[in-house]
């Protein structure tokens, strides 16, 4: 066997399976699926060991390990492993008309609590100071937090996206007064929109103990395999966080699942602009690749009933998958889903000897796929099968059309086990690509991730000038990217968005700039 060196391992910890792949350069050497274990760690060990064994790789040759996980999302939604949070908002006398937690489901108060501290400070949209930060006020709040025994602290200052200095100063004081506390600052997480950003900050703080356990668990798992390579965790926007960074910002992993699958699809097909359709057993997720990264949602998203506005991919989910139930109404019309037999497909579907008609049965009956026993669906009328296939394709085409941003046909990449449902060209698609290894696109997406930096704040074009403002924003984003571990030579601006603010004079424009780059370590080896 050829010597396998300079390798990366990508792991995707899903609800059912833990996928692992081993990459060398840009090619996937080995890919495997293993069941996700209760303790996560042993499943990761098993999966990573399996790919290393199959590739004949040694622990010392592994340069990086990248992990994609939905554990933090699930923990928050299920309200498990959360710790009480002290919420400090720097905004008085402003914003008292909506206190923190106003719109949170009551169930969170048992775990996260309702410990709210409003203090003076904050900035205006143009950076002017609303009121100065009162340090003695922060010290007094810190003393109360110590009395409550709370160790997770969320700090949000008004317009901290414009000027983060008050948030940072408050963070220093609290850290000094509350040794060992885990502090989350809102400016490092969210965007403009106080309530949504504060919510994200609280969510993040509530996970601060659990994230230590999880990252520690990953590290222990790797140690068992004698791997001491740097560990990265993939985040919502398709870039990587270092082990240390994820320990501080677990919420940034919340939507990394669909993101990894889209990034994996991009890598498998070398397409930078495409629509990605990920068809699973129950749902189909449709997203858009723009410059190789998922297009982001511009509207707030609810997670576990809490509204936030941090970076999330813009995904349309429809109730269509391999296990979707097929029914015929009285008027002869065919419906598909949204209910599904899910993981019971291999028991309940007709072709596997079950008694439920599923989308998979239709594909087998039509002769597009060999799965189970085709004889068991031979009784389905040809016309019925054809109409059910039309319906399935209609649903996918409609979802694709909704996600497109122009009338022009776009390339479509199909991934996920349910891809067999597509048996013909799709309207609106210039081509339909089903890549090799489409089943482990998630793990590949994690393994190929780059590091990123972003800036999102308001500039005055009247004062700064448009060109200078964009230059400044790019510089800030590039610096953030280098801080995250990128090699300076590889920086690339992937997104510049200008949003003029209505009703404000002086050419106030909200600028969002995103920069990505290759990991420094990846190039040095």
């Amino acid at each position: 066997m050829a010597k396998v060196q300079n390798i990366r391992i990508g792991v995707d910890v899903g609800g059912t399976n833990t996928d692992a792949i081993l990459m060398q350069g840009s090619s996937v050497r080995v890919a495997i699926k293993a069941p996700t274990s209760e303790d996560i760690g042993s499943g990761v060990v098993a999966a990573v060991k399996a790919v290393m064994d199959e590739a004949g790789a040694h622990a010392k040759d592994i340069r990086q390990v990248m992990i994609g996980t939905t554990q933090f999302t699930n923990a928050f939604i299920e309200r498990k492993h959360l710790v009480p949070v002290a919420v400090i908002r720097i905004a008085l006398p402003a914003t008292s008309s909506i206190l923190p937690f106003t719109d949170w489901p009551d169930a969170f108060s048992e775990t996260v609590g309702k410990n709210i501290f409003l203090v003076h400070g904050g900035n205006e949209f143009d950076g002017r100071v609303i009121t100065e930060l009162r340090e003695e006020e922060i010290v007094a709040v810190a003393a109360k937090i110590n009395d409550l025994g709370i160790k997770a602290i969320a700090i949000t200052s008004i317009f901290s996206a414009i000027d983060a200095s008050m948030e940072e100063r408050a963070g220093e004081i609290v850290q000094r007064e509350c040794p060992g506390a885990k502090i989350t600052l809102s400016n490092e997480l969210g965007r403009l929109g106080l309530i949504e950003r504060e919510n994200a900050t609280i969510m993040n703080a509530s996970l601060s103990t659990f994230v230590e356990e999880v990252v520690g668990g990953f590290r222990t798992a790797l140690k068992q395999l004698k791997i001491d390579a740097p560990l990265f965790v993939s985040q919502n926007d398709g870039t990587l966080m270092s082990e240390k960074y994820v320990g501080r910002y677990p919420v940034l992993t919340f939507a990394s699942g669909p993101t990894n699958s889209m990034r994996g699809a991009a890598n498998l097909t070398a397409k930078e602009q495409a629509i990605v359709i990920d068809i699973g057993g129950t749902t189909t997720d449709v997203g858009v690749l723009s410059n190789g990264f998922p297009r982001e949602s511009s509207i707030p998203v609810d997670i576990g009933g809490v509204r936030t506005n941090f970076r999330m991919p813009d995904i349309l989910s429809i109730g269509l998958g391999g296990g979707s139930l097929i029914r015929q109404g009285e008027g002869g019309e065919i419906t598909v889903g949204p209910d599904s037999v899910g993981f019971r497909l291999t028991k309940d579907a007709l072709v596997f000897g079950g008694d439920i008609l599923t989308a998979t049965d239709i594909v087998v009956a039509a002769g597009h796929c060999k799965l189970g026993d085709r004889e068991l669906v031979a009784h389905l009328e040809r016309d019925f099968v054809a109409r059910a296939e039309d319906k399935i394709h209609d649903m996918i085409e409609s979802a694709v059309d909704r996600m497109k941003t122009s009338k022009d046909a776009a390339p479509v990449i199909l991934v996920g086990g349910g891809s067999i449902l597509v048996s013909r060209d799709l309207n609106g698609a210039s081509e339909v690509i089903i890549p090799e290894n489409f089943g482990v696109a998630n793990a590949i997406g994690a393994a190929i991730a780059q590091v990123g930096g972003e800036v999102d704040r308001i500039f005055s074009y009247a004062e700064t000038g448009r060109d200078e403002a964009i230059k400044l924003a790019k510089k800030e984003a590039e610096d953030a990217c280098i801080d995250a571990g990128a090699n300076t030579e590889t920086l690339k601006v992937v997104d510049v968005e200008e949003i003029p603010l209505s009703y404000l004079p002086g050419g106030a424009v909200r600028l969002r700039v995103k920069v990505v780059g290759e990991l420094q370590e990846a190039l040095s080896v």
Binding site: P93, I98, E124, I195, S502
Partner: protein, 364 residues
């Protein structure tokens, strides 16, 4: 009618519908109301018919940029200070407060102030929907002054503006608003009970609640939500002309900011496969709808773009290529259609070169 936690979401959805694409994020208004209601405060609504002619009320609002409103939350207490300063200037205490606009976040703000002060809120407004500027009111059309125009910020600053023309009040207040941090809490347009009955658009808070209710109930009953909404608007009780102007999907979207407004147009292609197109022009709110270049509805009649399945109102910022929507047109009360009204907030008020024709006379 009361506004309480039970009908709050109906009210917010209805005020978003009446926002006709603009009016600011009603979510912020909902949270402000939720907070005062959770604290046990109450909002008392009064039917204008039950408000004595000699009694007085003043209009309450937030002026500001939507982006700022989402970060520097409107302040209920500052709004109370603006109200008190206006009373001092007037030399009397008002008996009630009221909204200046029925659509968007400003439908909620007076209710918050009503809860904080215990003052009743009159179920009527000066726009019957959302408009972008302070002079675009039925009160202004009737020749009533907006003086005193009082604006307060979070830091106890209070500005008093007295002008001869209401349109100048809009200009001056906008500048002060920016100095105050892009948002200011206002009291203006003091009115008597008689003036309200004669010159306000009546029962619009109730209308917002009922619009939200009809959408919610139709969803719960798995009815066709848009049809149910139209039936409600055309019922004898409401008495509007309401119709689906178009059923289509967004195929093109142009948006730019000019003079502080979000201006643009959205093109929809018919889902019926007949090749028809609808163009909706907006300036913060949806202003005109043209089907194959022929007008089918124009401001001040309401043009609302809603999700074709759920009837959820869609604001201009949330329009996206590919959305499946229905465009609904709704007539406005006669008080909003007089020649003076049309000069103030009809097509001419927005600088559009088209003669107003009521929605019931236009084909769709």
């Amino acid at each position: 009618m009361q506004i309480d936690l039970a009908n709050l979401e109906d009210f917010i959805r209805g005020s978003a519908f009446l926002g006709t694409g603009g009016g600011g994020d009603p979510y912020v208004g909902m949270l402000m109301l939720k907070q005062v209601l959770n604290d046990g405060m109450q909002v008392t609504l009064i039917d204008p018919a039950d408000f004595d002619d000699e009694k007085t009320a003043i209009n309450i609002l937030t002026m500001g940029a939507p982006t700022v409103i989402n970060e520097k939350i409107p302040s209920g207490p500052a709004n109370v200070r603006a109200l008190r300063a206006a009373e001092k200037e007037l030399g009397y205490a008002v008996d009630a407060i009221m909204p200046v606009e029925a659509g968007g976040i400003n439908a909620s703000i007076p209710l918050v102030v009503g809860a904080l002060t215990g003052l009743p809120v009159i179920d009527a407004d000066g726009m019957g929907r959302a408009f972008p500027e302070l002079q675009m009111t039925t009160y202004n059309v009737a020749g009533l002054s907006s003086n005193p125009n009082v604006m307060a910020d979070d830091k106890d600053s209070v500005a008093l503006i007295t002008t001869v023309k209401n349109i100048d009040a809009e200009r001056f207040c906008r500048d002060i608003c920016v100095r105050m941090g892009g948002i200011g809490q206002m009291a203006c347009y003091p009115l008597t009970g008689k003036q309200i009955k004669d010159h306000a658009v009546l029962n619009t808070i109730t209308l917002a609640v009922e619009i939200g209710q009809s959408i919610r109930i139709a969803r719960e009953d798995h009815d066709d939500v848009v049809s149910a909404l139209l039936r409600f608007l055309e019922s004898e009780h409401v008495g509007r002309v309401a119709k689906v102007l178009f059923d289509g999907k967004v195929t093109d979207l142009l948006r730019e900011t000019k003079g502080g407004f979000s201006i643009g147009r959205v093109i929809l292609d018919s889902l019926a496969g007949d090749g028809a197109q609808l163009e909706v022009v907006f300036q913060n709110e949806y202003l005109t709808a043209l089907k194959d270049s022929t007008p089918v509805a124009m401001v001040p009649d309401l043009i609302c773009i809603v999700d074709r399945e759920t009837s959820e109102p869609i604001t201009t910022e949330n329009l996206k290529y590919g959305q499946r929507v229905k465009v609904v047109g709704v007539s406005v009360p006669e008080i909003m259609r007089s020649p003076q009204a049309l000069a103030t907030f009809g097509p001419a008020g927005f600088g559009l070169d088209v003669d107003y024709r009521p929605i019931e006379l236009l084909g769709a």
